[in-house]
Amino acid sequence: MNKTSRTIVTMPTTAKKGEILKIRIIVQHDMESGFRHTETGQRIPRDIIRDFRCTYNGVEVFRVELHPAMGANPLIVFTTTAIESGTLEFKWSGDNGYASSTTSTLTVT
């Protein structure tokens, strides 16, 4: 697995104050569980994303602990309340120094 990869976030760019926003994020990662074997019977070592965090203007609003049972190319759909305009940052980190992130700007009226 590469040290970083694409992550795509889908969320509105504008919202009314107090509105609950649906955020959808997916990241390109094989999530090698550590339970698979090669054709010759050798175990393929675990290599997964362990952590996901969403911060909203620097404040953590959502966190996830991922285990090997999370599917490949992890997808998470969650919500947050639009309280103010600003930047949402989405960060993934995992085994073997993996890290990827993306941001999204939000205008709240």
Partner: protein, 147 residues
């Protein structure tokens, strides 16, 4: 001491049962994982809805939705939701950590299920109390695979 035929037969019978005991270990593992989350407390059944398709075509990518009835205010909110599988090699699947800012406690993701099983969702509230829900599913294997 001489090993009588009786002791041999009994110990052989016991030894033959051991592999099957291992096969059920994952339900115990799941219980242990849940106990660890609960830290001595108990979880009431209710408020937590876990949605998994009752029949799954392939256990490698199963869409799962968990939601907890909660106003998500400072007074009453969901602090964490833990998903535990009873039929996977490892019981812990994923843990979500929220705050009142979530607005709603409803999360969708895609998980791996190694076999037909019951999956449990344990939610911890802001006041430290626990609620739980579960869903059972049948996992079928794809036809014509690599091996």
């Amino acid at each position: 001491m001489t090993v009588t035929r009786r002791t041999f037969v009994i110990s052989a019978a016991a030894a033959s049962v051991l592999p099957t005991l291992n096969a059920f270990a994952t339900v115990d593992d799941a219980t242990q994982a849940v106990d660890k989350i609960l830290g001595g407390r108990s979880a009431q059944v209710g408020r937590v809805t876990l949605e998994i398709p009752p029949l799954v075509e392939n256990g490698n990518l199963v869409t799962m939705k968990v939601s907890v009835q909660s106003p998500m205010t400072e007074a009453d909110y969901v602090r964490a939701i833990h998903i535990v599988a009873e039929g996977n090699p490892l019981p812990n699947v994923v843990s979500f950590f929220l705050s009142p800012r979530a607005g709603r406690a409803a999360i969708t993701t895609r998980i791996r299920l190694g076999d037909s099983q019951r999956v449990r969702a344990i939610a911890q509230m802001g006041d430290g109390s626990f609620w739980q829900g579960d869903a059972a599913t049948l996992v079928t294997l794809a036809a014509c695979t690599e091996v």
